[in-house]
């Protein structure tokens, strides 16, 4: 494997290393939790780098493709979706964003566009096999077509599950069938087998994580909210990514719950004077975590009590049979996974989440950032506004790029927030 193909992954690992050092020096327990997670990510990156260097099997997969199966097959996997995300810490990201515009234009989601650029420029390791994702948006589907057609990747075997638009029994049966075909594909192309006993163990462990996630989110209902903007996404990352079905992930959740419970008992919130409880209905991007979210807390006492990735319906999977496990995974992958659950199907899924989150978490305002890549969601703004009106909570639609501040500057975003809070009498 050429050095060129590993340089982004190595760069990301080094960024994570910097994050670990910064989090470890922090006195707060939630930062120490973040440090632990980043350490696991570093370990995971090292494993992929090792596989690439030694020619051992590993796969590429986007998020939300039932990673419980990879864990049960002991199959190392990576996604370069995270590269533009953590790239916020690197000075080269801006250059990558500009270069990606020259290939695909301005209006394709930045994170997908940059991922496509990395493929076209041969900057990521070529895997043994690849699992594609065909939802929740058009951009994801075409990115995978681009990858599959790239001259360096066109010989990589690829499988992608076809997502139904519905959530009924027929849809779950269909998607469970797709997942079984995915397992057959992985077995054929990686030489690994899915052992049903191990599969059950992984799912049972993941069920424990989901139970703890429910408990944690129940604690976030407290006023003041014990934690801020960053941990929802991390919880999702643990339960639905590299620590899925891993006892270390379960331990991470236990520590998270313990810290939140302690803070709730002490009536201590993330922000000493919590004045606005905010539902950020999208990704909490790393880039914004350096300026916008801290500014919201400090300037306005505005806490992100819930965000899109921190919220899930947390389906426990019945492990009594092979069939029930595939059915459960189908439901989890389609109906629980943040962003997939809302954007894959009809708009009612967005609206019902708003209703539940606003009611359950005592939300004062709903913010739809209007990320430039989220076209289907941005076609809901009228419906979301009306839903919020019925609930009696203000709704803010910004219009921005979660990963590129040249689209809407941070000052413009802050100005929008200030005007909104002032006009609505919040804070």
């Amino acid at each position: 494997m050429s050095e060129r193909r590993l340089q982004k992954l190595i760069g990301e690992r080094d960024v994570l290393d910097v994050m670990v050092k910064a989090f470890t020096q922090s006195p707060t327990a939630d930062d120490k939790l973040s440090a632990g997670l980043a350490e696991v990510e570093i370990e995971h990156h090292n494993e992929i780098i090792r596989c690439a260097e030694e020619g051992k099997p590993f796969i590429f997969s986007y998020f939300a493709c039932a990673p419980e199966i990879y864990a049960a097959m002991d199959l190392p996997w990576y996604s370069f979706l995270s590269l533009p995300f953590t790239g916020a810490l690197l000075p080269t990201l801006k250059d990558d964003i500009d270069a990606s515009k020259r290939l695909f234009g301005n209006d394709l989601c930045t994170i997908l566009r940059v991922s496509g650029y990395y493929i076209e420029e041969d900057l990521v390791p070529v895997p043994t096999a690849m699992i594609g994702l065909l939802h929740p948006c058009d951009g994801t589907t075409v990115l995978h077509q681009l990858i599959a057609s790239n001259e360096n990747w066109c010989n990589v075997p690829i499988f992608a599950c076809d997502p139904p638009y519905w959530e009924d029994e027929r849809s779950m049966n269909y998607y469970a069938g797709e997942l079984k075909r995915m397992v057959s594909f992985l077995e054929e192309h990686t030489g690994r087998k899915l052992d049903m006993g191990r599969f059950r163990e992984v799912i049972e462990e993941s069920n424990k994580q989901y139970e703890l996630w429910i408990e944690y989110n129940d604690l976030r209902r407290a006023v003041p909210c014990p934690h801020g903007y960053g941990l929802g996404l991390q919880a999702s990352g643990v339960a639905q990514s590299n620590l899925v079905g891993d006892p270390r992930g379960t331990a991470w959740f236990r520590d998270l719950v313990a810290d939140a419970e302690k803070l709730v008992r002490e009536k201590r919130g993330k922000v000493p004077n919590e004045r606005i409880r905010l539902f950020w209905f999208d990704v909490v991007s790393l880039d914004l975590s350096f300026d916008l979210f801290p500014w919201l807390e400090e300037e306005w006492g505005a806490v992100v009590v819930m965000d899109m990735f921190g919220y899930a319906p947390y389906t426990m999977i019945d492990t009594s049979s092979e069939e029930s496990m595939f059915q459960g995974l189908a439901k989890r992958a389609l109906c629980d996974m943040p962003m997939i659950r809302q954007a894959r199907g009809v708009a009612d899924n967005f609206l019902s989440d708003i209703v539940r989150v606003v009611k359950d978490y005592k939300i004062d305002c709903v913010v739809w950032p209007g990320h430039m890549g989220h076209k289907d969601g941005s076609a809901n703004i009228g419906m979301m506004r009306e839903t919020c009106r019925e609930l009696g909570v203000p709704f803010l639609h910004i219009g921005m790029d979660l990963f590129d501040k040249s689209y809407t500057t941070i000052d413009e975003i802050k100005d929008k927030f200030s005007q909104f809070f002032t006009a609505m009498g919040l804070g």
Partner: protein, 381 residues
């Protein structure tokens, strides 16, 4: 570019393309016929025909603004969806009795959600369209067609029998065969029909009763087949992209001396290059097989890129294409990447490729002319 042919049929097709409620639709309505609108060419029109209704492909022809839709959609939603929904909100689609959507793209599938809440169309239905073209997906879409059939039967109190489905399939296949005959004429050195006129013929096919349309198209073919058309062009062009229903767009290209001789459009070859299998045992399976797997796909379908590229390659060879114009509605992710891939694919083969981003309503013509002129200068014969 004007051809010498100005037949009555061509005028009727042009009128159908230029207006929303054309005389054929008006006449259908006056006779008590029902009209069911549909979005996107993956919608099986035959099911609507079999119900005894007129399938009408939704467009925003004649729209002048998006002032009402802008309260519901955002500025990153494509202008087709904003104009179309705006027309729905303005009541300009009150002539339809129902509307059906496949879950095609991020923009169009959300018009369904908004439409069902804000526009008083009596029957609305959305179908889960697969994103792959394999056998399980054909079976899935067949079940979706069963659901559509049952929903139409229940709402309108009609029965859609297998016999009526087969009749509809035969009728629509006849349309496709006639349309392919029209395209055969465009392979000539002096095609008797321009690209703009051909697009009008194709658009009209989605907005008229098929019997009437087929009759007119037969007449047109009889009339123009013996004729010689324009040989005075600078280059033979293929146009490719997403929804393009405005012949005026092609007129701008042809005014510069390019002759559009073929396409890969969902108002063009993609809806008629193949037939539904009339020898299959079950009509809905035949339709599902056609719509999911057999017809030329668009980038909506994953895993079918190689077949799409081969389709374009065949078109280039058979129609002696000198260059490709890839048109795209701004904010369409599917075509953003597909055009990039195809341009890259055909570059080593020496096929020039011009990517034109556009809004649904024709605008920025000066800039477009300049780009087309420059493109033609690089490839002209």
């Amino acid at each position: 570019m004007e051809t010498a042919i100005k037949s009555k049929a061509l005028q009727e097709f042009a009128e159908a393309a230029e207006t929303l409620v054309n005389p054929a639709v008006r006449s259908w309505r006056e006779q008590g016929g029902k009209v069911v609108g549909y979005f996107c060419s993956y919608m099986p029109e035959e099911v609507i025909t079999a119900a005894g209704f007129l399938p009408f492909r939704m467009r925003a022809t004649g729209s002048t603004g998006t002032e009402l839709a802008d309260a519901y959609l955002s500025s990153i939603n494509c202008s087709f969806t904003r104009h179309c929904f705006n027309m729905g909100l303005r009541g300009e689609y009150d002539f339809i009795d129902g509307a059906v959507w496949p879950s095609t793209c991020d923009h169009v599938r959300r018009i369904y959600d908004n439409w069902k809440r804000k526009v008083n169309t009596p029957f609305v239905h959305i179908m889960s369209l697969p994103k792959k073209t394999d056998e399980p997906q054909v079976e899935w879409y067949r079940d979706e067609m069963v659901n559509l059939k049952e929903a139409l039967e229940k709402h309108f109190g009609v029965e859609i029998t297998d016999e009526r489905l087969w009749e509809a399939i035969r009728l629509h296949n006849e349309t496709r065969r006639l349309q392919r005959q029209l395209y055969e004429l465009r392979k000539r050195g002096s095609p008797p029909i321009s690209g703009a006129e051909a697009l009008a013929v194709m658009v009209a096919g989605t907005a008229m009763p098929k019997e009437r349309y087929n009759q007119l198209l037969r007449g047109l073919l009889d009339e123009i087949s013996p004729s010689e058309g324009n040989a005075d062009y600078r280059a033979r062009l293929m146009i490719m992209g997403g929804i393009l229903d405005d012949p005026a767009f092609i007129e701008v290209i042809e005014e510069q001396g390019g002759l559009v001789v073929t396409d890969s459009l969902c108002f063009g070859t993609r809806i008629m290059w193949k037939d539904v299998d009339e020898g299959a045992s079950d009509p809905l399976t035949a339709l599902a097989q056609y719509y999911v797997a057999d017809r030329p796909s668009c980038p909506r379908m994953f895993g079918d890129y190689a077949r799409r590229a081969d389709f374009v390659r065949d078109m280039i060879r058979d129609f002696k294409v000198d260059g490709i114009i890839g048109e795209r509605l701004i904010f369409c992710d599917q075509w953003a990447v597909e055009h990039y891939m195809l341009a890259k694919e055909f570059k080593p083969e020496g096929i020039p490729y011009l990517e034109l981003d556009r809004e649904y309503l024709l605008g920025g013509i000066g800039q477009m002319r300049t780009r087309i002129q420059a493109f033609l200068e690089t490839i002209e014969r």
